[in-house]
């Protein structure tokens, strides 16, 4: 019953340490992982933001540069035409062969113009150099003609026109005298397309132009052809470059998971679109984010492992301390109990001793008086002496009890001091010799003179030896003579001292042997022993850091062996070759 309760207690304690372990681990992990995650997340967010804006900035620059490049090309073509209109009169250009020379000169370096023609204010084609038979065409109704007549410069969208091939024209007008005429050139579509499309942006990047109606002005790399309608949503004209990141085709923008740069070319009012897959554009950022995550994960795992170890270690220390504290508490409690019992016992013993002494003197007086008087009644005489003997026996018994009580209570001021054990044993033997002699017991001492000075508690040790010797003397009851052998040995290897108290008394039976240190266990007749002596010895020796063991044979004797540690002081080796070697 008691052991099962103890077991449950231990289990509960284990449980509480498990709880403590989990709590500490949780706290440690939270305390270290939360800041780590915060820092990691913050750094990651900042880095992502920074890299993204850099990537977007780069992308924007690229779009801007490309726009300028295409614009410059268009401007250059129109400037060339305008220059021609100012440097050459209509009459000159219409003269046979002149336009051909001009066309050849214009295309000398780059084949950027497919054909060139001069048109009068009525829309009639006056002169034409190029691969198509367009001389007889009249453009009076064409949209571009009206446009150029009003604005002076016109760049068309891509159109099929008479030649049934995607192309666009640049036309400039010139007022010469009262008459306006137009110089019109077709830009080489291949050259222009190469110019626009030949920007490679990664694996997934593409560049194309759409007009304000959303018609492809150049062929995109993926899905779509020139002159086809694009799914791109055309936004209002803006001066600046606009870079947008699209996730999953929002609002039917025609883009999904892409970074898209848009810039308007003006003229001719085309939208330059440069786009790249999001994953490719931000591959580097994604990669570093992954690396960050892995790093964070490894950190978190190592923190977890470290905190597990640290917590286990700490809980181990706490458990150890707790056990020690509990042990001390139990000892303290036991000591406190014994002390109060001791005080009570001493008080009772004192109070009893005096009346007992008076009783014994009164008895003696009666005996004296009785011996001096002459009484003839033999029966009375017999009864008288029997009663007097009984009074003496019972008084002695009382005395024995009070002495035991007093001896038990003699736990005076304990303090750790230097103890010369041999001298100490000599004194104790001296004290007890009188009592032993009256029981026919003599002391034999065999003291090791190499014994070092101990750091121990003399008053407690005295109690132990008085108890052991008293027991040893009592063990000889019924035997006419006997001896108590006390020996001390210096245990060099164990840095301690062993004291043996061996008697030639009645011995202890095997079944009693493992109970003799239990409190209130006694084999002495009722009224003779408290059953506390050996229990106290055990506690004291344990508290002093030592060990007490017992060896006994029924009817042959008992030997108690006490090991005491030196604790602090060590003796100087005396003529000991082994130690110096």
């Amino acid at each position: 019953m008691k052991s099962s309760k103890k077991k449950a207690d231990i289990e509960q304690k284990q449980e509480s340490y498990g709880y403590l372990f989990r709590k500490f681990t949780f706290l440690t992990v939270v305390c270290s992982v939360v800041p780590l995650l915060l820092v990691g997340w913050g750094l990651n967010a900042y880095y992502t933001y920074y890299s993204k804006s850099r990537t977007i900035g780069n992308f924007k620059n690229q779009v801007e540069n490309h726009r300028r490049f295409v614009e410059e090309f268009l401007k250059e073509q129109s400037s060339k035409l305008r220059l021609l209109t100012y440097t050459h009169s209509k009459a000159f250009l219409l003269a046979p062969g002149h336009l051909q020379v001009v066309f050849e000169n214009m295309n000398r370096e780059y084949q950027s113009i497919t054909d060139i023609g001069v048109i009068d204010h009525n829309g009639r084609h006056l002169a034409y150099v190029g691969p198509y038979p367009l001389l007889d065409k009249n453009y009076a109704d064409a949209e571009w003609f009206k446009e150029v007549m009003t604005k002076g410069l016109y760049i068309s969208d891509m159109f099929m026109g008479f030649r049934q091939e995607p192309h666009f024209i640049i036309a400039v007008s010139r007022l010469e005298g009262n008459e306006e005429w137009i110089l019109r050139a077709t830009v080489n579509t291949d050259v222009f397309r190469t110019l626009v499309e030949n920007v490679r942006i990664g694996e997934s990047g593409e560049v194309y132009l759409v007009n304000s109606q959303g018609i492809y002005q150049t062929s995109p790399r993926f899905g779509g052809k020139i002159m086809e309608s694009s799914p791109v949503k055309i936004e209002d004209f803006t001066e600046s470059v606009k870079v947008t990141i699209y996730n999953d085709n929002p609002n039917g923008s025609g883009f999904s998971n892409q970074i898209v740069g848009k810039a308007w070319l003006d003229p001719p009012g085309w939208l330059l679109v440069i786009k790249q897959d999001y994953s490719e554009a931000f591959a580097e950022i994604n990669h570093s984010r992954r690396t960050n995550l892995i790093f964070l994960f490894i950190c978190a795992i190592s923190i977890l492992i470290i905190s597990l170890f640290i917590t286990r270690y700490m809980v181990g220390i706490i458990r150890h301390r707790d056990e020690r504290a509990n042990q001390l508490n139990a000892q303290l409690l036991q000591t406190g109990k014994l002390a109060s019992i001791g005080e009570l016992a001493a008080g009772v013993a004192h109070e009893i001793n005096n009346p007992l002494a008076i009783i014994s003197t009164e008895r003696q007086i009666l005996i004296d008086q009785f011996q001096n008087s002459h009484i003839d009644d033999e029966a009375f005489k017999d009864q008288f002496s029997t009663s007097m003997d009984q009074i003496a026996i019972q008084s002695k018994r009382c005395k024995r009890i009070t002495q035991n009580l007093l001896r038990f209570s003699r736990r005076t001021h304990s303090m750790i001091e230097d103890v010369d054990l041999n001298q100490f044993i000599f004194e104790v033997v001296d004290l007890m010799e009188r009592e032993a002699k009256s029981s026919g017991v003599k002391f034999i001492t065999d003291l090791d003179d190499r014994l070092p000075t101990l750091r121990s508690d003399a008053s407690q040790l005295q109690q132990v030896f008085l108890n052991l010797i008293t027991n040893a003397i009592d063990a000889h009851e019924g035997k006419p003579y006997g001896s108590i052998r006390i020996s001390t040995t210096y245990e060099e290897d164990q840095t301690g001292v062993t004291i043996k108290v061996a008697d030639t008394g009645s011995g202890i039976s095997d079944e009693d042997l493992n109970r003799i240190f239990d409190p209130f266990f006694t084999k002495k007749p009722v009224g003779k022993g408290t059953g506390l002596g050996l229990s106290i010895c055990h506690t004291i020796i344990q508290n002093l850091g030592g060990k007490i063991t017992v060896n006994s044979k029924k009817n042959e004797g008992t030997e108690f062996a006490i090991f005491l540690p030196l604790i602090t002081s060590l003796p100087e080796p005396e003529d000991n070759g082994e130690e110096t070697a």
């Binding site: 002494a357 008076i358 003197t361 003696q364």
Partner: protein
């Protein structure tokens, strides 16, 4: 030795007078007192062979009384009879010069035996000093006037 003068000191009045009675019936001359102070006073008034002293007494306790007795520097021997049961205190008393100790309650025969021992020791001391004095007087007869100066002073 029949006829010894004994001072019995114990705060238990009945015990002291009983003991006195018992010892007197065994041929001793006994004076029983109940405090340390009165014991010292008695010792100053007259010589005793043996003082039987209780350790635990109200007022001046046994140890203090013993110290006072020792100050008087007498041949008187002191025997401790204690109900205190404390071997430590008894041992201390022996260290202070008490002849021996007994614990209460004790058999009258044990006490008589101890008293005899104590008396014997006192006798030994007296004889020793007497011999020394005789020796001194033999060596220089004039020194007879300087003998027992301490005794004179104490009285």
């Amino acid at each position: 030795m029949i006829g010894s003068k004994i001072l019995f000191v114990d705060d238990e009045v009945v015990f002291a007078s009983n003991m006195a009675k018992l010892l007197e019936s065994r041929g001793y001359w006994v004076k029983a007192v109940n405090t340390g102070d009165s014991a010292i006073q008695e010792l100053e008034k007259q010589d005793f062979d043996v003082v039987v002293l209780d350790l635990k007494m109200p007022g001046m306790d046994g140890i203090t009384t013993l110290k006072e007795i020792k100050k008087l520097d007498l041949f008187t021997q002191t025997l401790i009879l204690t109900g205190h049961g404390s071997i430590d205190t008894a041992l201390e008393a022996i260290k202070l010069g008490a002849y021996d100790y007994l614990t209460k309650p004790c058999e009258i025969e044990d006490l008589v035996e101890k008293i005899e021992g104590a008396w014997g020791k006192k006798d030994e001391h007296v004889k020793k000093e007497l011999n020394e004095n005789i020796q001194k007087i033999v060596e220089s007869p004039a020194s007879v006037f300087n003998l027992y100066p301490k005794r004179e002073k104490n009285k």
